[in-house]
Structures are given as C-alpha cells and as structure tokens.
C-alpha cells in the first residue's frame, strides 16, 4: 500500500479514534496510584514528637532535605505507631502550604541559635559552641554567687550546699537514662528548683 499524505492522515485519525474508544468502555484506570508510593526512595529519620510530654516516636521520611511524610513509629514503646491529631500533622512544623496548596519550607522554623543581649531589642545569630560556653559560664557564675553552704532549719544549722538562683527543666523527649543524668548534674550543681514538663 502506497503511503500518501491522505492515507497517512486517515490512518492517524483511525488510530486516534481507536485510542479514544478504549476510554469509553469499562476499562480500569490507566494511572494506577498504587504503583508510586509517596515515600519511596526516601531516607528515614527517627524523632520524638515535640508537642506534649508523652514523647511519641515518629519516623520522618526525608527526600532532598525536605520532610515528605511523618508518621508514628511502630517500634517505639510509647506510642506503638499511633499518633494524635497534633502528632500526625507534625511535618507542618518543617513546612507549610502556600496559597496554591503546595508545600514550602516553613519560614518561621528556628534553625540557628538566636541570642538577645541584655538591653538589646533584636536577636543575633550565634553558633552552638558559643551558646553552650555562654550557658556554662553563666551557670557557674550565678551558682558561685548564690551558693549556700549551710542554712538555718528549725533553729539548727544544717549543711545544704544549694543555690536558689537557678531553675532546671527536664525534657520528656529524652530517655529516662538521659533525664537521670540531667537530674544528677542538676543535683551536683546544687539546683533545688527542678521540674520536668511531664512531671514523670
């Protein structure tokens, strides 16, 4: 058969018509959503939910530095894979949706240490080493300044070795062992005003 322009156009028309026919019948969808899982080829990171004192375990699926999904960690002893409404929306801490419904990095998320000097009205970006040094120096300074070796209890002099100037807050997002160490350190410094966000 000779392929002329007319017969080629005819053939193309017939092919297009045949292709459109298949969409009229009871055929299944061409695009099967099951073939592509959203969290495929992502890196898994384990983290702890930041909202309340329960400290549920969460698996974050990260692709190119962006959290694409976050859901309960089935192997975590606290929540065994479950989450509440706040926990299951925790990926929004990392990104938000714009007007068109597309995710973009959350501009309000803190990624650096911010320091506001006494009397200053603005925050400065500092690095962690500087901040930890500063905290350690200040703890030492105020503890030395306010340290009480003895105190009068019921008219009797008792050894207390304490400071009342510092408060210490533990965290539910650390393990019990870590909190034990925090507790030990706070006792060693002489802090008596200790609490924990979950009071565990």
């Amino acid at each position: 058969m000779e392929l002329t322009r007319r017969s080629f156009l005819k053939l193309a028309g017939v092919t297009a018509a045949a292709a459109s026919l298949t969409s009229v019948g009871y055929r299944k969808a061409a695009a099967d959503p099951g073939e592509r899982l959203r969290i495929r080829y992502t890196q898994e990171f384990h983290t702890i939910c930041t909202f309340c004192g329960v400290g549920c375990g969460i698996i974050c699926n990260v692709r190119d530095g962006v959290i694409v999904n976050a859901e309960g960690d089935p192997d975590h002893p606290v929540n065994e894979g479950t989450l509440c409404s706040k926990g299951s929306s925790i990926s929004n801490v990392s990104y938000t949706f714009d007007e068109k419904g597309k995710p973009r990095p959350n501009p309000k998320r803190l990624t650096d240490v911010l320091y506001r000097a006494p009397g200053s009205d603005s925050y400065e970006v500092k690095d962690w080493d500087w901040a930890l040094d500063k905290i350690a120096r200040r703890i030492k300074e105020s503890r030395d300044r306010t340290h009480e070796a003895t105190a009068m209890v019921d008219g009797e002099e008792v050894t207390v070795n304490r400071t009342k100037a510092i408060g210490w807050l533990g965290s539910a997002f650390c393990t019990g062992e870590e909190n034990y160490l925090f507790h030990k350190m706070a006792r060693a410094i002489g802090i008596v005003s200790m609490d924990h966000c979950a009071r565990l």
């Binding site: 005819k10 017939v14 018509a17 045949a18 026919l21 969409s23 009229v24 019948g25 009871y26 299944k28 969808a29 061409a30 695009a31 959503p33 099951g34 592509r36 899982l37 959203r38 999904n69 976050a70 859901e71 309960g72 929540n79 894979g81 479950t82 989450l83 509440c84 409404s85 706040k86 926990g87 299951s88 929306s89 990926s91 949706f97 419904g101 995710p103």
Partner: protein, 264 residues
C-alpha cells in the same frame, strides 16, 4: 472481593481527630478555614481537601448526657451509588474492593456527590474534579495499612482481614450489649451490600449522623439501567462507523483505480 477492611469502633473513639489530620498529612491536603458551629466537629462539611472527619453528636436523654463521636468518610460500598451514577465510568472498584475516582476520566459533573447516600464526596473547583477518600490505595497495595487506622491511639480504627474484623466487631457488640448498651449494633455489614468501613455503634446510626437505611437512590438505578447499556452501544456504534468508513473508502479507491484503468 473485599479481603481487608477497616473496623471503626465508635464506642472506643475519643474524638482526638488524629485520623483526620493523618489523612491530610498522607494525601497532602491543605487545611480548610474552620468555623464554629457549636460542636467540636470541624470543618463542618466534607470537601475536596477534607476526605474524612470525626463527627460529634450530643444528646441529653433522661438527665444523662450522651456524647457520641465517630470517624466518618467514604464507606467504600460494594453497591456503590457513585459508581452507578458516574456517566464516564471514572469511578471503579479496585482489586482490593475499594472505590476510587480516576481523575483522568472524571469530568466533574458531580453526579456521584448527588447520589452518595453518605454525602462524603467533595468537589475541587480548581481542577474541576470530584475528590474523596481513596482508602489509601497506594499504601494498601504496598502492604501498608491506611494512614487513618495506622495512627488511631485507642484502636478504635482497626485494619485487618475481613473475617477477623467481622468476628471482632461481633464480639464487641456482644460485650456492649451485656454492659448497658442495648442498642449496640454493627453498621455496614448488610447496608449497601457491605462496606469496607465496618462500624460498631453503641446506639442507633441516626444518633451518630449516619443514615439509618443507606440505599442507592432509585433515580440513579433507573438512569444507570438506561445509560449503562448505551455506554456499550456507543462503543459498538463507533466501531461500526469506522468499519463502514474503511470499507466505503476501499470501494471508492477501487472505483477510482478502475476509472483510471478505463481512461488509460
């Protein structure tokens, strides 16, 4: 057809709405501006970005306050009204027994939303498509459970094999009946030929905001009976037209050749 279904034990639901935000999280649905309607139920309507929600209902009877809550959304009916109503066949049953809307073939006519006895189909005005719960089909075929049942902290939502789930539901109903809930029942086993979302209700379904007797609307059945075969007829008619066109063209070609030969 259905092998794995979800049990929604409304008597265990604490209304934390973890399922609601987990659904949005997995399906990447944006938030909806909420409004206060007098209950904790928010947003008040299903939409293209709210596929499931926890429905709160309050009743004061005999001086006793009843606060009923249950996760509601697409039921994935076996006798699905939306599937019958769809004129393009965009709504179909998957191999897992769930009901899915094919976005490519959806024309946005909204007949499915009108026919649905549970009123759970939302309409996306930007893409002009109907949207509803997919039972997390992408997770299902990859061996994961739906995101709503994965997060439920009280095991109100349980995902499992159909037989085990039905047995579990019956045990739970027996337990509830023995312990002061004479109206406890299973919902979704016989309604619309069985749903993939099986409910254990501690009271009448109307009290939970569910239809007492969900049915495929009569009009949908009639129109499907009329148009169902027509869809097939369209295929035959177009096929016949093509065949006629080709044969006619061949005849014309032959006639042309003969006339050319004759002129030579």
């Amino acid at each position: 057809m259905k092998t794995q279904i979800c049990l929604i034990d409304a008597s265990k639901c604490i209304g934390c709405r973890g399922c609601q935000s987990a659904c949005k999280q997995w399906n990447q649905l944006p938030a909806v501006e909420t409004e206060f309607t007098g209950t904790y139920e928010n947003p008040p309507r299903y939409s293209c970005s709210t596929w499931t929600k926890v429905v709160f209902r309050e009743y004061r009877e005999n001086g006793r306050l009843q606060w009923l809550m249950s996760k509601q959304g697409c039921m994935h009916c076996t006798d699905a009204a939306c599937k019958l109503a769809c004129p393009t066949g965009a709504i179909y049953h998957t191999d897992e027994g769930t009901v899915t809307i094919d976005e490519i073939r959806c024309i946005g006519c909204n007949y499915c939303a009108a026919a649905c006895p549970f009123n759970v189909i939302g309409f996306d005005r930007f893409t002009n498509r109907a949207k509803k719960c997919t039972f997390c089909y992408d997770r299902l075929v990859n061996g994961m459970e739906p995101s709503c049942s994965a997060v439920c902290p009280t095991d109100s939502l349980v995902f499992g094999n159909e037989r085990e789930i039905i047995a579990k539901a019956q045990n739970r109903v027996d337990h509830l009946r023995k312990n002061g809930n004479p109206e406890a029942r299973i919902y979704g086993l016989d309604e619309v030929d069985g749903t993939a979302m099986l409910y254990v209700l501690a009271d009448k379904p109307e009290k939970y905001g569910l239809p007492a007797d969900p049915r495929v609307p009569f009009g949908t059945r009639v129109w499907n009976a009329i148009y169902g075969p027509l869809r097939f007829l369209v295929v035959i008619a177009v096929g016949f037209g093509l065949w006629a066109n080709i044969t006619k063209n061949r005849e014309l070609d032959r006639a042309k050749e003969e006339t050319q030969k004759g002129s030579e």
